[in-house]
């Protein structure tokens, strides 16, 4: 035993060391792991948010304290002390009452549990025995007597209990009486301090107290932590994972803690309140969080709870830099869905609102979609819900009678040299067709295009020659009459509309005869035009013509048209022929064509190539399909499917579409592409705002599953409303009118130039409840001004019956009018009432402003509509509402309220016993009588 030999194959000492160190490392790892988990960013955000809430509550508490009326508070404290003092003299009485109360409580308890309840149980038992005995045919007389006597006894007990309870109530009342003063004062103090107490409770709730530390302590926080992941599960809006649909789970509020809480509008991110709580996220909003969530609009990975993995995408490079520093942000890679940069979020509205004509609360998107139509994007690119609309450019069916060939060549060669604000995009002299060879080829194409257009144009001649006109007066009429609601012109900087062409250089384009004829009757040239008739006198039309003809671009006039080389043309023709006939065949074919045929051939090929018919009506291309890629769900197209070429752009949708709009041809850079295969999308020369609007609209075109019941505009009256809204958009009604409180764009000029807005075109906010449908229909069919003294006036549109009916239906349904929207006039005034109403009408001096039949008011600047038209024009209910509170129906109305609300006090109390409601109805009935009598 002397020397023990360790025969184990290992050295236990070394091993102990290894164990020691490895267990230490393991321990550190575990601690590290626990710490990492405890310290996750979202947990820290929640702790920070508690602190924020607490500090805000502390501030609010200070404010609440400063709002307290301390004079009153001190008085209440004195009252309380006094009341407490008074109570001292009643101590004996109170003690006695309290004793009495205790005694009574005891008696009541006894009466209930010792007397009443056992007896009640006995009765139930006996009743059961009685039934059993009866069933078995036994004699039950005795039992019945017993039950009866028990019931009598129970009645006595109940009476006893009732008496005791009454005594007890009396004691309570006596005590309350004695204490009433103190309790009243206390109640008053509590009422005064209600806010203060609430905030104190809020501060306590958001303090890191003992319970908070225990529940959220490391290792214990798996039990019942207060800091935890928050989420909404959206069963109706599944996420598409290519081959499977899963429930959408949004956890954004785990960090964005105040997204649905008011009061954090200026808090630092991620704790800011949603900027439109009334519309989104809020429980009473149209898009509540539990139904809509976050990612359906914003995109991103809803289940992630880390800044980078949830795929935040910055607005711009500056924000990217900031995020990198602050959150260690990295550009999302390989994720299912990235967030839309905030400035493009409106695009997501299309997921549910795509079938709607305009959305109102998404002005950028509305503008983007409008531009996609008016700038002609949808002429080449098919876009769901934007199909079958009026073409963006003018019809070229009669171009021969409108424009000179030379003008067309110069214009198409470089539209901006004619007018920088022109909407025609630039096809030529772009980055991929500006080398000498391409320049020669494009010149040949252009020449042939124009030859084709003129060959395929019907004849047209203006039917009238313009009389001499005054440029100065024309300029005035042009500005005042309403042309600016659709057209822009460089003489007016306070407002620039782009619904119709900019006319800053129109004198270099058209002949005076054409302009004059066109202004007087646009349909003479184009029966399908949307341009209305403005009902100008011949002199006014001549003046406007003189003004417009003075708007010339001299530099453009002096430029010469590009010269085409017939040899280049022939080469181009051969490139088209070769694939069909081979090299020699192509030569033979070409040789068989004369000069004219060659021009026509290349013209036709080039028109097809550039897709000109997408925007213009061209003979021979009536049924041609747009040449661009369909964009209906472009926003969900895989980034990998987009050809970024050799550009150093970020590989994102927004970068691609931005670049495409900035310079569509840049993707051909460095590539070897045959001339006819090069990118053809023209440059639209968009300003940054318009570009952003279009990008918003394009990014919003996605393929996302949304259940039918969440789609807007397809339920109930939706489709009927949309029909009307389509007419409104197509004819630019909102260029002048506020409709659904949006639009009225010409008002911008009134505001900037400080012109009284009540002289601007009216707000049509309550038109459906205001205007009788018969009158409405006649008016739209045959416009006559309501306020003839205004310079700006509603023009005469050439609307179909269907358009008119759609618009009237729209206005009526919008205002909850009941089909068939007809007006029934019932009011009749007795002789006495009529006398009173006439006197009241005179007293209120309505005719100080309102015209009456042919009478013209003394001061045109304050004149108001003809009262003799009321009976046929206005709905009776509306007249009464209008009289009561014009401001409520039409903000900024000049009509004053004679019965100021909410007092509803009449300024003429001598009539109808001062009954305001009756007075208004009588006035209404009088106006309806008057109109009919005349």
């Amino acid at each position: 035993m002397a020397d023990f030999k360790d025969e184990r194959a290992y050295d236990s000492k070394t091993l102990t060391k290894v164990f020691l160190w490895s267990s230490l490392v393991l321990l550190i790892c575990i601690i590290w792991m626990i710490w990492k988990d405890y310290n996750r960013p979202w947990k820290n955000y929640q702790r920070q948010f508690m602190q924020l809430q607490r500090s805000m509550a502390v501030d609010q508490k200070t404010e609440a304290i400063s709002d307290i009326d301390f004079v009153k508070y001190k008085q209440l404290r004195l009252d309380l002390a006094q009341a407490n003092n008074d109570l001292k003299s009643h101590e004996d009485e109170i003690d006695k009452l309290n004793d009495q109360a205790a005694k009574l409580d005891n008696q009541i308890f006894k009466a209930k549990t010792v007397n009443y309840q056992p007896l009640k149980a006995q009765i139930d038992a006996d009743k059961y025995s009685y039934a059993e005995a009866n069933k078995d045919g036994k004699d039950t007389t005795k039992l019945n007597t017993k039950i009866q006597s028990e019931i009598d006894q129970a009645g006595a007990y109940t009476q006893q209990l009732f008496d005791l309870q009454q005594q007890r109530d009396q004691v309570t009342k006596d005590l309350a009486d004695i204490n009433s003063k103190r309790d009243d004062v206390n109640a008053n103090i509590n009422k005064m301090l209600a806010d203060y107490h609430l905030l104190k409770a809020k501060i306590d709730k958001n303090s890191f107290g003992f319970v908070f530390y225990v529940r959220n302590a490391m290792l214990l926080d798996f039990l019942s932590p207060t800091i935890q992941i928050q989420q909404v599960v959206l069963k109706n809006l599944p996420e598409d994972l290519y081959f499977a649909k899963t429930m959408r789970v949004d956890r954004c509020m785990t960090c964005h803690q105040a997204i649905d809480k008011k009061g954090f509008e200026n808090a630092p991110e991620p704790f800011r309140t949603h900027p439109h709580l009334d519309l989104y996220v809020g429980p009473t909003s149209q898009h509540p969080m539990d139904k809509v969530g976050c990612t359906i609009c914003h995109g991103g990975m809803g289940q992630a709870i880390d800044f980078t993995t949830c795929a935040h995408v910055p607005n711009d490079e500056e924000q990217a830099k900031l995020w990198k520093e602050k959150y260690g942000w990295e550009a999302p890679e390989g994720v299912q869905s990235t967030m839309l940069p905030l400035k493009y979020t409106e695009g997501s509205c299309l997921k549910c609102h795509g079938t709607q004509e305009f959305i109102n609360n998404a002005p950028k998107l509305d503008r983007g979609r409008e531009l996609m139509v008016t700038r002609g994007c949808v002429g080449c690119h098919k876009v769901k819900n934007l199909e079958g609309l009026t073409k963006a450019g003018p019809s070229l069916i009669r171009v021969k009678g409108k424009l000179k060939e030379e003008f067309v060549e110069k214009w198409v060669w470089d539209p901006k040299s004619y007018n920088a604000a022109a909407r025609m995009p630039s096809f030529f002299q772009q980055t991929n067709n500006s080398d000498d060879e391409a320049l020669a080829k494009t010149k040949a194409e252009l020449h042939s295009i124009v030859q084709y257009l003129y060959e395929h144009s019907a004849n047209y001649a203006p039917n009238e020659n313009a009389p001499a006109g005054s440029i100065a007066n024309g300029k005035k009429v042009f500005k005042e009459i309403g042309c600016l609601a659709c057209h822009g012109i460089d003489d007016v900087t306070s407002h620039h509309a782009d619904f119709a062409p900019d006319l800053s250089a129109i004198g270099s384009k058209l002949s005076a005869a054409f302009v004059y004829t066109w202004i007087k009757n646009p349909r003479h040239f184009n029966p399908d035009t949307r341009m209305p008739v403005l009902r100008l006198t011949n002199q006014e039309a001549a003046d406007v013509t003189a003004y417009l003809m003075s708007k010339k671009n001299k530099t453009f006039d002096e430029m010469s048209a590009p010269q085409a080389d017939p040899a280049v043309r022939d080469d181009l023709i051969q490139t088209y022929l070769k694939p069909l006939y081979g090299i020699d065949g192509a030569k033979t074919q070409l040789a068989q064509m004369d000069d004219k045929a060659r021009e026509q051939y290349l013209g036709q090929k080039s028109l097809s190539k550039y897709g000109c018919f997408g925007c213009h009506m061209i003979q021979g291309f009536e049924t041609a399909q747009g040449i661009g890629t369909e964009l209906s769900d472009w926003g969900t197209k895989q980034v990998g499917q987009l050809d970024f070429g050799t550009t150093d752009l970020e590989h994102t949708h927004e970068a691609f579409v931005n670049a495409k709009l900035e310079n569509p041809r840049q993707f051909d850079k460095d590539k070897s592409v045959a001339f006819q295969d090069r990118l053809k999308m023209p440059n639209f020369r968009l300003n940054p705002e318009d570009k952003e609007a279009i990008v918003t609209a394009v990014l919003g075109l996605t393929k996302t599953y949304v259940p039918d019941d969440m789609i807007a505009g397809i339920h109930g009256n939706g489709p009927l409303l949309e029909k009307g809204r389509r007419v409104i958009a197509n004819f630019n009604c909102r260029g002048c009118h506020l409709i659904e409180d949006q639009g009225g764009r010409i008002r911008e000029m009134y505001e900037k130039e400080n012109i009284d807005l009540s002289l601007a075109p009216p707000n049509l906010r309550k038109e459906g409840s205001k205007i009788q449908v018969e009158w409405f229909h006649d008016f739209l069919l045959n416009v006559h001004p309501i306020r003839p003294w205004l310079h700006i006036h509603m023009p005469s549109f050439h609307w179909s019956d269907e358009d008119i009916s759609n618009v009237i239906t729209y206005f009526n349904l919008k205002d909850d009018q009941v089909y068939p929207f007809t007006t029934i006039v019932t009011g009749q005034l007795s002789a006495n009432e009529l006398t009173q109403t006439k006197a009241m009408f005179a007293k209120l001096q309505c005719q100080k402003c309102h015209i009456f039949g042919t009478a013209v008011p003394a001061d045109l600047s304050t004149a108001a509509p003809d009262l003799l038209q009321v009976h046929s024009r206005l709905k009776p209910d509306w007249v009464v509402q209008w009289l009561m509170n014009p401001e409520a129906l039409m903000p900024g109305a000049r009509m004053p309220s004679f019965w100021p609300q909410p007092d509803d006090k009449s300024p003429v109390p001598h009539y109808f016993h001062g009954d305001s409601e009756k007075q208004r109805e009588a006035l209404r009935d009088y106006l309806f009588m008057l109109g009919k009598a005349n």
Partner: protein
């Protein structure tokens, strides 16, 4: 063992933090009550006065006709002077509102009301100041219809018809706002302006372009002048001690 220790420590820490520095409700409120009494806005004894004048070519007085309404016509002989720009021979500007934009506290509204008259189809005064919460008494002295159309933006706008002579309408403003335009839609020429302030430190210049603001507590103040044609002047700062009377002048440049 370890855990228990940590927990105990945490508990003690939590209790300490919870217990420390907590005032009772009564203490907190009484402290605030005493503090509030000290800081309550009190008028001072300093004053600022001066003159507002127009440099450059003084425009001639514009005239307009009020003949559109016979009632108005009867109260004037011939054309009526436009009140947009009124100067004396030296170019001193009438109807300019001078007020403190910075440095003054909030003061409770005085019980006396401000009166706005419609007489001879003109507003009188043409420019006036009023405090938040102070009553504005609008009177129609004319035997014709007027409507008082207040075009306030921050405050609630209103538009009241006043068909009777002697009729009075009372209104109050709830927020500071300057200028607030009033107009009559029956008589296109009628308009006037109010300034709504949270303190009484404002004045409107008289015929000689002079103004005086009294009752300023010692302190530093920023003042501006506002004129309906020329807008708001550049701000000027002034420091006053108790009892001191300082002078500040404003000028507007006439458009040539």
């Amino acid at each position: 063992m370890e855990l228990k220790k940590i927990l105990t420590l945490l508990a003690v820490a939590a209790l300490l933090t919870a217990g420390c520095g907590q005032k009772s409700e009564d203490e907190e409120l009484m402290e605030a009550a005493n503090g509030a009494a000290k800081t309550a806005a009190v008028l001072g004894t300093a004053s600022v006065s001066g003159t507002v004048s127009l440099t450059g070519k003084v425009p001639g007085t514009a005239l307009f006709s009020v003949d559109a309404d016979p009632v108005c016509k009867a109260q004037h002989t011939g054309m009526v002077k436009d009140e947009t720009v009124i100067t004396d021979a030296k170019g001193d500007l009438k109807n300019v509102m001078v007020y403190v934009t910075d440095g003054a506290g909030s003061y409770p509204a005085p019980s006396a009301s401000v009166s706005l008259n419609q007489k001879g189809c003109m507003y009188s005064p043409h420019v006036f100041g009023i405090q938040v919460g102070q009553a504005l008494e609008i009177v129609n002295d004319d035997p014709t219809l007027h409507n008082v159309h207040c075009m306030a933006v921050t405050n609630d706008s209103f538009n009241v018809g006043m068909p009777n002579q002697g009729m009075v309408t009372e209104k109050k403003f709830t927020k500071a706002e300057a200028p607030v335009k009033f107009k009559c839609d029956v008589h296109g020429w009628m308009h006037c302006f109010a300034g709504v302030f949270t303190n009484p430190f404002y004045a409107v210049t008289g015929d000689d372009g002079s103004f005086k603001i009294n009752g300023l507590p010692a302190g530093n103040y920023t003042l501006v002048a506002w004129q309906e044609q020329y807008g708001v002047s550049a701000p000027q700062t002034v420091a006053v001690k108790d009892g001191e009377a300082k002078s500040v002048n404003f000028t507007f440049a006439a458009a040539n």
